[in-house]
């Protein structure tokens, strides 16, 4: 069952990415994943969502932004990115981190997209 789930979630996301392979949304999603890995936002270490997304969406058109949001929500639904509400000093913020149990899927996604690009 675990292997089936792994392949299923991998196929969904790679399909989404390959459908929009020429668009900048795909590349921005890969950048987002790469940034989270290189800064080691995996597991317990998390970061405010708006801080990361603000600059990623900056130079995208409206259509590309929609594509980006579609793939991003898919990543959250598949629990590759963990999204949680965290208490700050005065209010609450949405924080994100990579799921350490699904690092294999992340590696597969990055490798597959890199090989095509």
């Amino acid at each position: 069952m675990k292997i089936a789930n792994f392949i299923y979630s991998l196929l969904i996301i790679i399909n989404l990415l390959l459908n929009n392979i020429n668009s900048k949304a795909t590349a921005k999603i890969i950048d987002l994943l790469q940034r989270m890995i290189i800064q080691k936002y995996i597991g317990g270490k998390h970061t405010p969502e708006k801080n990361i997304l603000k600059n990623k969406i900056a130079y995208l058109t409206r259509k590309e932004r929609k594509e980006f949001e579609l793939i991003y929500t898919q990543l959250i639904n598949e629990e590759i990115i963990i999204r949680k509400k965290k208490m700050t000093k005065k209010s609450t913020d949405w924080h994100i981190s990579l799921n350490p149990k699904k690092t294999k899927i992340v590696k597969e996604i990055i490798d597959n997209v890199w090989s095509i690009l």
Binding site: I38, K40, A58, T103
Partner: protein
């Protein structure tokens, strides 16, 4: 914010900017965005980017709503080497986390075996006492 790439090559302003360009490889980025992400001033970011352009690492590309965007120079052999190293960095980080998971699974299996052995020994001791 410096990442794993800067940990290997030194945490200088130049390396941090290069790391950001490598993260965004294939996509052009603007200097305001760069300065915002790295939490440095815009004049300093412009200065460093200008140095990188002179060295041939970075090229100026299209303009988006008045802001000039920059991208890595893919034709430069040094850039291809840096890209390779960056990908190796990513792989090592991901591998370390997958290894951790495997180790935890092994530990859990060993603990289960230990508990079973202890239970068997306990039963034997109880029988001996009887």
């Amino acid at each position: 914010m410096s990442g794993a790439f800067c940990e290997q090559y030194g945490n200088s302003m130049r390396n941090r900017i290069l790391e950001n360009f490598l993260e965004n490889s294939g996509i052009d980025i603007g200097v305001p965005q760069l300065a915002d992400e790295l939490k440095i001033s815009r004049p300093k970011a412009y200065e460093e980017v200008k140095k990188l352009i002179d060295e041939g690492f970075v090229l100026s590309g299209r303009k988006f709503r008045g802001t000039q965007l920059y991208d890595l120079n893919a034709k430069n052999p040094k850039v291809t080497l840096l890209k390779k190293n960056f990908r190796q960095c990513l792989n090592t980080i991901l591998n370390s986390y997958t290894n951790k998971e495997d180790k935890i699974k092994q530990m859990l299996k060993e603990q289960e075996l230990m508990i079973k052995e202890l239970q068997i020994n306990h039963k034997k001791i109880v029988q001996m006492i009887k």
